[in-house]
């Protein structure tokens, strides 16, 4: 393809002006696409990368546009074009272009299974001539509110700057040692010994694009149940792995950071110390594991988990799933009501590989164990392996100056660590502010 010399000519003539100053953009949904996956509970309940919304679609508005129109997230608006009208809840998304309303397709279905009645149908607003955008001829607030089931609480790090460590490429080239996270904390308690394996995970924030593939992979691998919109509204999402999305910068010029959050498998795990019945324990290769049969459901472990990666079966979610028996992974226990659960680093895969290597009487090779999240990551942001093997990919990543752990000040010594974000921003062009 020849290089495009004139971008505006390549994009065609600019669209006709919108009467209300609002232009509707029709886009496929990140999870259910044009609706072809609308009956899939996993995808319906998947928090979307930017909005973190589950189950329903919303009309995405920029903060400035929303404040100009006097609208806030969850306000219901009636949107109309020459082709039809729909009612949709507003979601204010920083980074959205001003005066543009993004509407996602594939929702509001009238036939099918689970997807029936979920969200609103943006196809009704769409015309054949200009299928991807239309001027809004009606955009009025109905006065109603519609609660949106969000998979995230606060959108910013609220002072916890070290949750996302970052710097610029210049800083990285000139003073890489500035990235090193200081870790000099000691513990009164004796250290564990790991004569064979010591599992660990490293997640490169520079590679993570927030696509959520790992979340679904984890859900499929580990028999993680879906809970439904009502339960998401009650903050009972069950995903063992989530991808936190944080806004940085001003609402007009926002940056997003994505941070996958599996269990950290802390070396000094706060959850282990508080379980009164030994239901969460440290294993001989550093994993922090749940013994489901032993759990009585005090939930103290979740209170004590600073990363909030533990999930509780407030109801018998798994028992209520309507799905084909063969869709469950036979290698993973299905958890019952009243039991805590969490990421195991795909223990079943670890055991499988270790047993294979023992049967064949050969050492376990690096990369032989691949966790579900790692396997599904399109950018290879997630690496898992044995920290006792200094040549393993995960050990090499952890040796990087960029390596850091979350909430280091708590001295939990997580086995999941992160590589700090390094930004290589464009230099401001003439006329732009710095």
């Amino acid at each position: 393809m020849p290089p495009i010399t004139d971008l505006s000519a390549a994009l065609g003539k600019s669209p006709e002006p919108a009467p209300l100053g609002l232009r509707l953009l029709f886009r496929p949904d990140e999870a259910i696409w044009d609706g072809r996956f609308a009956d899939n509970a996993w995808l319906l309940e998947l928090p979307r990368p930017f909005t973190r919304l589950t189950w329903d679609n919303a009309a995405l508005l920029a903060p400035e546009t929303a404040s100009r129109l006097g609208l806030d997230t969850e306000d219901v608006v009636r949107i109309g074009t020459g082709h039809g009208q729909v009612e949709a809840p507003v979601f204010v998304l920083p980074g959205q272009a001003e005066n543009c309303v993004t509407l996602t397709l594939g929702f509001g279905r009238r036939a099918g299974g689970l997807g029936v009645g979920v969200g609103y149908d943006a196809f009704r607003l769409r015309g054949g001539a200009d299928p991807w955008s239309a001027p809004a001829t009606m955009f009025i607030r109905t006065g109603e509110r519609f609660p949106l089931a969000e998979g995230q609480g606060q959108d910013r790090v609220e002072g916890h700057k070290d949750l996302i460590r970052e710097g610029t490429l210049t800083q990285f080239v000139e003073q890489p040692e500035k990235f090193i996270q200081e870790r000099e904390r000691k513990s009164l308690y004796p250290e564990f010994a790991y004569p064979r394996h010591a599992w660990g995970m490293a997640i490169d924030l520079n590679s993570c694009i927030g696509c959520q593939a790992c979340v679904i992979a984890c859900q499929a691998e580990n028999n993680v149940p879906t809970v439904g919109r009502e339960q998401v509204l009650k903050h009972r999402l069950m995903h063992w792995l989530r991808i936190d999305r944080y806004y940085r910068g001003t609402p007009e010029n926002v940056e997003f950071a994505f941070e996958p959050m599996p269990c950290m498998h802390c070396e000094k795990a706060p959850c282990e110390a508080v379980c009164p019945v030994h239901a969460t324990v440290h294993d001989h290769s550093g994993l922090n594991l749940m013994v489901y049969n032993r759990c009585v459901g005090t939930r103290f472990c979740s209170n004590n988990c600073p990363y909030k990666v533990r999930r509780f079966n407030f109801f018998g979610y798994a028992a209520e799933q309507e799905r084909a028996p063969q869709s469950w992974n036979p290698e993973v226990s299905v958890r019952g009501r009243g039991v805590m659960e969490k990421c195991t680093y795909c223990l079943q895969r670890i055991r499988h590989a270790v047993i294979e290597s023992e049967v064949a009487q050969r050492p376990l090779a690096d990369g032989e164990i691949v966790t579900a999240c790692q396997q599904s990551c399109p950018t290879q942001a997630i690496v898992f392996g044995d920290l006792n093997n200094p040549d393993s990919e995960v050990a090499r990543r952890k040796a990087s100056v960029l390596n850091y752990v979350l909430l280091e000040e708590l001295n939990t010594r997580p086995r999941t660590s992160y590589l700090a974000l390094v930004h290589n921003r464009n230099k401001p062009t003439a006329g732009e502010g710095s």
Partner: protein, 453 residues
Amino acid sequence: MTVAIDPPGDPPIIQPGVSLHSLSTEISFRVLSPKAPLWWWVGFSFGFVLFLWLLVAVSWLFANGIGVWGVNIPVAWGYAIAEYVWWIALASGGTVISALFYLTRSPWRAATNRIAETMLLAAAACAGVMPILHLGRQGLFYWLFTYPNVMGLWPQMRSPLWWDFTCLLCYVLMSLMFYYVGALPDLATVRDLARTRFSQVFYGLLALGWRGTARHWRNHKAVYGTMAAIMAPMVISVHSVVGLDYAGGLTPGWHSTQFPPFFFFGAVTSGTAIVIILTILVRWGYSLQDVITEYHLNALAKVMLVGSVMLSYAYFWEAWGLVYSSDLATRLEFYHRMFGFTAATFWVEKVLSSIIPQLLWFPAVRRSPVILLLISGGIIVGMWLERYTFTISGLMHNHVPSWWFEFHPTFWDWSTLFGTVGLFITLFFLLLRFMPIVSMSEVREMIDKADSK
């Protein structure tokens, strides 16, 4: 009286005219009378209906799971734990009055300690059910016991929950024994005054053959004094361990060494408040103005004032400690507790349990039953709000803002709260009806001392 705790002109500790005989017959009559007064039926019915509603709420909970409540992740502890702390604090306050002030030989204790102990038992029953209801798998609560079992497993002894479970168990058993041992001479009095065959046998069995010999009295004094000497420090440790349930956690706002005493101060304040309320009501209902005088109200109000001042001191430290703390999460949590989701309950709680009780500095307030009722009621509500705010806010404003979610109680949360109030009223009214509500033996001792002076 020999002990002067107020300037001259104090109301008498026992009204003149109360004799050894009149006291015994008066108090025993309440127990042996075949008919209960109308107010008893009204109060008992009210409590019993609420208690039945608790049974409905608990059945619903067992049938459907803990999800019927508003708890979530991150706020995995909600009303059940707040209520547990609230009830056990009320019970602990009762122990302070009956055990600690027995050791100090405070003259006002004699007429009020049985009310405090009766309240204690009812409140401890309410407290005891909450941690079990709160479990995800309630039927397996006994796994917290240290008992020999085929699984070859013991509880995990680093967990504050296990300490708490053990302490609570000891405390409840000890309280029952303390109540019973203290009531033995009175049960014998009731037995002796009983006229029907049934009550003679019933109270006769309960009295364990008490004949009031010098040897009986000597043993009784020794046992009771020893138990009081154990109970007084025990109640401090029990409630401190409740504080450790929080302090032992890594949650922002909970993780501080000040909470064991903080919780104990709260227990003294709220426990005294409920004793004051019940004392005033029982005094009215049973017309015991001669035995329970303004002297008692004054003394109890002073204890409550001391508790409130200590509590205010703890509040002050909770805030002041953060001024020089370097822990960002804790500071953020406290900021949001004061001005965020829990702001209303935070400030109302401070006004009710710390500011309004300062009125008790005025002697006239301390002797006015109506004002005392209002202040005490405010403290009890305030202390509930405190436990709620403390539990919710710490969990909500945790270390990762992405998982800061609000807590909203459900209908079943409220049902459990008011249901346990029903359980409390039911138990208290039953004990009020069938057990002597004033320690006759101890008041007789006081009358005797006063007469022989």
